[in-house]
């Protein structure tokens, strides 16, 4: 298990290094950062001054090395637009997004797992078809449009929930639904497929033959094994939600890192943009790594590969 864990860790770190190179070049190569920073009215001397002050005149690998060194020391740079250290700005916003993503995953699991189990237990009946139809419809609904519909119906029409901000728990309900429903079809399909596979296996047949009631076999013996792949899918989906939070947080005016990303892009805050891409990747990779380890613990066959 230790060898497995170390090998995965090595690979994750390699991916991380590649991601950091891409993040760094993305901001550097997509345009001249000195011109962007100096602003539209700057003279060419001012642009040169900015270039020298930020070290943009040095070779790219040297710039990358300095940047990476700073990042490893926990210094993500300084936002000139906000006049504050980037790390401070991000850390201030991260709890909102973490809470939103957590609630979204919770919503997705609460809807998707029961649907998947029922669909598998009543395979090829009207119930199964209905569950699959819900998944197909869910996958076709754009989340920004769904978010606006929620605002119109639950917020403005029925006046049940606040439509913008992040002050109370109530503020999180609509955004969590808008962000979470998009993950439900994938989790539901996987739960269903896993359940079908497990329900057809020998040990379930044995349990049934021994006279255990069907509901108990389904809930206790089958579900536990069927959910193993769902664990890693959920981790992946949680990572995607950080990316999806850009839209949902913008629609609901929540001050998380998603909206921060959108605002930074609007005001060409390169340092924050770059830091956010990196941080979201790191969180995604960390979640993935933990899911890998968990899977390795639960299923020893995965360790030898």
């Amino acid at each position: 298990m230790l060898a497995f864990a170390l090998k995965r860790l090595g690979l994750t770190l390699l991916v991380l290094v590649s991601v950091s190179i891409i993040t760094f070049s993305l901001v550097r190569l997509a345009g001249d950062p000195a011109i962007a920073l100096a602003g539209p009215e700057a003279t060419s001397e001012e642009v040169e001054a900015v270039r020298a002050a930020y070290g943009f005149d040095r070779p790219l690998p040297a710039q990358y090395a300095t940047w990476l060194g700073d990042v490893l020391k926990g210094d993500l740079g300084f936002s000139n637009i906000l006049q504050r250290p980037v790390l401070e700005v991000v850390m201030e916003r991260l709890p909102v997004t973490a809470k939103l993503a957590g609630l979204s995953v919770l919503f997705a699991l609460i809807v998707a797992i029961p649907l998947g189990v029922v669909a598998a237990a009543k395979r090829n009946t009207i119930v199964d078809r209905l569950a699959l139809s819900i998944a197909v419809v869910g996958q076709a609904l754009p989340n920004f449009f769904f978010a606006l519909v929620l605002i119109l119906v639950l917020g403005v029409g029925l006046r049940w929930l606040p439509i913008s901000g992040d002050k109370t728990f109530l503020h999180y309900i609509m955004p969590a639904i808008a962000l979470g429903y998009f993950a439900t079809p994938a989790i539901m399909r996987l739960t269903r497929a896993g359940m079908i596979e497990v329900l057809d296996s020998d040990y379930i047949r044995t349990a049934r033959a021994m006279g255990l009631p069907r509901s108990r076999v389904v809930m206790k013996h089958a579900l536990r094994n069927a959910l193993i792949p769902v664990v890693s899918l959920t981790a992946v989906q949680l990572g995607f939600m950080l990316s999806g939070s850009i839209i949902v947080e913008s629609v609901f005016s929540m001050n998380g890192i998603g909206r921060l990303g959108w605002q930074s892009i609007q005001r060409t805050d390169l340092e924050v943009m770059q830091a956010l891409v990196l941080i979201i990747s790191v969180i995604y990779l960390a979640l993935n790594y933990m899911a890998d380890l968990l899977n390795g613990l639960l299923d020893p066959r995965l360790r030898v590969q």
Binding site: R8, L11, T12, L14, V15, L16, S18, V19, I22, T23, L26, V27, A30, G31, A36, V136, V137, Q139, A140, L141, P142, N143, F144, F145, L148, V149, L152, V156, P185, A186, R189, L190, A193, I196, P229, S232, L233, V236, Q237, L242, S243, I246, I247, S250, G261, W262, I265, T268, M273, L276, V277, I280, S281, Y284, L285, N288, D292, N295, L302, Q305
Partner: protein, 302 residues
């Protein structure tokens, strides 16, 4: 890291020998989802092609005296503007019809680019295995670790939003599923007899890949490509909604929802109409893709 990292729904089950054409045809005619999806897609493609003929007005023509006119069923609606007008007095029906062109163009364009990148990587990884497989899996993992939406927004913001920029940006971001599925599909046929026969007959690697491998993974490719068009369309709509995709005054459905947002409280139809158009198109493409998978897979749906 293996393919298990990637959402399992990504890999449709393509196994054993492909079905004979007559069999596919027989199944296809009885598959409701496929027929509905295919019919709707065909209709929307026709609408997009015939937009200049069908549209009652110029989609760019502003008429500030007739702003936010209600659709025909609303108060003050008339047949002059069957679906009303937007905040600049442009005919909403005409903009919706032209919007189909934008969605289909971007969905199709981005998918072609993504398909070429992903299929090349996936087929090479699946056929050669070993080190090449490792490198391809690694690149896929790097791509998945990058937050696609944020990267796309950054690129469009720095390079500038135009139809071409959006198509190329999306194309370079959504190839991962092609790579994963093509790799799995190629692995399954790699050691089959007819490939050994081609090798024994002295065919070059390029020839084997093009004439023996490609035709046999084509089914899987069509399924992924169809589903990816839907994903790319949703992606473009989201970018345009955030103001960093297709730029005004182009009639993109995502942009129309964004422009209508501030009027939605009193005139919900300004977001409902483009939203419904987007939903129907994506649903139709997904039904079509799922349908093709069902009728071409050996055992159908499991």
């Amino acid at each position: 890291m293996t393919a298990t990292d990637i959402s399992p729904q990504a890999a449709p089950a393509i196994e054993a020998a492909p079905r004979p054409a007559s069999d596919i045809w027989r199944r296809g005619r009885r598959h409701t989802g496929l027929l509905i999806g295919g019919g709707l897609v065909l209709m929307i493609v026709l609408i997009a092609l015939l937009a200049p003929v069908l549209a009652p007005h110029d989609p760019y023509l502003q008429d500030l005296n007739n702003r936010l006119v209600s659709p025909i069923w609303g108060e003050g609606g008339s047949w002059t503007h069957p679906l009303g007008t937007d905040a600049l007095g442009r005919d909403y029906l005409s903009r919706l019809l032209y919007g189909a062109r934008i969605s289909l163009l971007i969905g199709f364009g981005a998918t072609v680019i993504a398909g070429v990148i992903g299929t090349t990587m996936g087929v090479l990884a699946g056929y050669f295995g070993g080190r090449i497989d490792f490198i391809v899996s690694f690149i896929v993992n790097v791509r998945l670790a990058l937050p696609a939406m944020l990267v796309a927004l950054v690129v469009v913001a720095l390079v500038g939003g135009s139809l071409n920029v959006v198509i190329w940006t999306l194309g370079f971001l959504v190839w991962d599923r092609f790579a994963v599925v093509m790799r799995a599909a190629t692995q399954q046929i790699r050691s089959l007899d007819y490939l050994s026969a081609a090798r024994a007959a002295g065919a070059s690697v390029g020839r084997i890949l093009l004439t023996e491998v490609m035709p046999n993974v084509l089914g899987a490719l069509i399924v992924v490509a169809t589903l990816e068009i839907a994903q790319a369309i949703l992606f473009e709509a989201a970018l345009s909604f955030l103001g960093l995709g297709v730029q005004p005054p182009t009639p993109s459905w995502g942009l129309m929802i964004s422009e209508g947002k501030s009027h939605m409280f009193f005139r919900p139809w300004v977001i409902a109409l483009p939203g419904a158009a987007l939903f129907i198109l994506v649903l139709a493409i997904n039904l079509l893709g799922d349908g093709i998978r069902d009728v071409t897979a050996p055992e159908g749906r499991t």
